[in-house]
């Protein structure tokens, strides 16, 4: 049975379920406790589970993310919330040098059931230091897994799967998705955590995308359909590993790839995905892959310029038309 709920609430339910199922699970981060989380994700959990299970931390991203690593080494299941992805730069040592490497460099001796959640993306005029997409920074780190839920259903599924996994997992959430609603079936069996999902079927081109750009791509696909262009839209759901087979199956039918990402174009997630799919499907492609991505700017505060800095449905549709003409 499914329920309509916003993305933040799906995450909240997922945390609640995990906290009640396993005493090793604890949540920590800035204002996750008494305050309930900047995006309400931990609302009500402090009252229910107490301060040791839902821990308000000082503003010490490097320190408390590293604390999560230490706790994971001895079998706890920490869920670290970093208030925004921008602050995660201060915690990269714990994520990249520690969490991703300890199980490996110890010769496979230690578990690392660490989850680090971080909201990111361009929201509404938050300025250059609060509007980044840093997925490419972590995609290049062997030993990490990265999930990017785009819907409330995936938020529910993927957070739960991440907490149950013994591997270190980064969950990239999007600030503009927290209050978007969708139906969530809490009884339904989850697909594998890193499998992509086809959101719209089409024969003319394949749009590969993730996170909030799924919605932008679906809007573009609706416009294109009016013009007779049928776009298939795939939500990657994961940036490491990538579901290459899922994308390839689609490209074998459509023969055209359009990669859509909010991240900056240069050396962004889309560069790797376009390159990886080109290597795999070169002889099936009827045209060079196209990429629609964020501009090479720090995000401007000015609203008009900010809107221009990331892909809009019209940009996606335009690239799709161009691609289908070649």
């Amino acid at each position: 049975m499914s329920e309509q709920m916003p993305y933040w609430q799906a995450l909240n339910r997922s945390l609640d379920t995990a906290l009640s199922a396993d005493e090793a699970v604890f949540v920590l981060g800035e204002d996750v406790g008494l305050y309930g989380g900047s995006y309400r994700v931990t609302e009500g959990l402090y009252a229910k589970y107490g301060e040791w299970r839902v821990r308000d931390t000082p503003i010490s991203e490097g320190g408390f993310t590293g604390l999560g690593v230490g706790a994971a080494l001895v079998g706890m299941r920490p869920v670290v919330e970093i208030m925004t992805v921008n602050f995660a730069l201060l915690a990269l040592d714990a994520i990249v040098n520690m969490a991703a490497k300890i199980p490996f460099m110890s010769g496979g001796q230690f578990p690392m059931p660490l989850v680090v959640r971080m909201p990111g993306g361009v929201a509404k005029q938050l300025g250059a230091q609060h509007s980044q997409r840093l997925e490419q920074t972590m995609m290049n780190v062997p030993g990490l897994r990265i999930a990017v839920p785009a819907t409330p259903q995936d938020a529910w599924w993927q957070l739960g799967q991440a907490i149950r996994s013994d591997e270190p997992i980064v969950l990239l959430e999007h600030e503009l998705l927290y209050f978007s609603k969708g139906s969530v079936d809490m009884q339904a069996e989850a697909p594998p955590m890193h499998r992509s999902r086809v959101h719209r079927r089409g024969r003319d081109l394949t749009i590969v995308t993730y996170s909030r750009m799924l919605d932008v791509s679906l809007q573009a696909a609706a416009h294109l359909a009016e013009e007779g262009i049928e776009a298939e839209v795939i939500d990657l759901r994961s940036l490491r590993p990538i579901d290459w087979d899922g994308c390839m199956a689609s490209l074998e039918r459509t023969h055209r790839l359009l990669m859509v990402e909010e991240d900056s174009r240069f050396a962004g997630a889309g560069a790797e995905i376009a390159a990886g799919l080109t290597e795999r499907c070169f002889y099936s492609l009827d045209a060079p892959p196209e990429r629609v991505a964020g501009r090479e700017w720090p995000t401007p505060y000015n609203s008009t310029l900010e809107t221009m800095s990331i892909p809009r449905p019209a940009d996606v549709a335009e690239a799709a038309r161009r691609l289908c003409r070649t």
């Binding site: 040791w52 000082p58 320190g63 590293g66 230490g70 706790a71 001895v74 520690m98 490996f104």
Partner: protein, 351 residues
Amino acid sequence: MDRDRQRAMLRDMLLARAFEERAAEEYTKGTIAGFLHLYPGEEAVAVGVLHACEPSDYIVSTYREHVHAMVRGIPPRSVMAELFGRRDGCSRGMGGSMHLFDRERRFMGGYTIVGETYPVAIGIGYAIAMRQLPEAVICFFGDGAVNQGTFHESLNMAALWRLPVLFVCENNHYQIGTEAHRHSAVTEVYKRACGYHIPARRVDGMAVLAVHAATRVALEQIRSTGMPYLLECETYRFRGHSVADPGSYRPKVEVRSYKEQDPVTLAIEETLPHYPLPEEIAAAGPDVIAGLAGRMSELGHLSEAELKHLQEEVAEVVEDAAAFAAASPEPTEADLEAYMNCNRRDEVLIR
């Protein structure tokens, strides 16, 4: 302290010195590569601290950790094999000199990014406090590591949430080549703890019994109050920062003066029979006569012959460790893949 414990500590110090000198030799032969940070001069810290802990305590260490690992009980064979990058190393050849791990012995790793040991230690401390166990975490770091943000972040959280962590500063006065007065506005590390209401103490890190006694006090206090504690051990490394460093920035007279306080020599002297002259006893005053007498009977049990035997025994252990390491196979790509995916269990990621 009982005779066996003292003798065990002496043996560990002798082993430490012999092992590290052998490692340096192997490095020049090319059997060990990469960065190699040796411990001679600082033995009293690892031995004094780790002999005062329980097997249930956790150890988090730095990149200068061969001796911590061995005193903790990791066999010299598997430490040497790790230095050689072999499959029988304690990290299966994946870690190397700077990343020794042993889960069973609660040796939670050597870390190379200066300042990483604190958050790992408080994380383990958090788990202990949450589960209300009588365990503690020993967190090693150097004087150069106290200017990283994680030092302050972690001391703050440790005090705020009362985490059972013993922060042990191995203050050898140099951050690679930069002397403490050139890297720290406050060079007495223990004083920094008061900013976080953490009890702290400085001890002579060249004197193993003093380090041991101070650690016992610290751990008792941690276990009874739940508060963390900081112990600063003033010590000295006789060699450069790593084998690639000749240490030429240090005045020769300084190196020589510390060598006169060589903890290994001092420990040997402590255990050799030394009967005070009547004048010495008289000068000590009546109160300490009983103490001195007790000390004599404690210390009078190690003869020159026994000392020689100990030295020969550790030389054999080191020889055996090097032979074992040389004979150990190289890890394979399949081993590597298995370590990479050691936590995958039966999880299906995509299909």
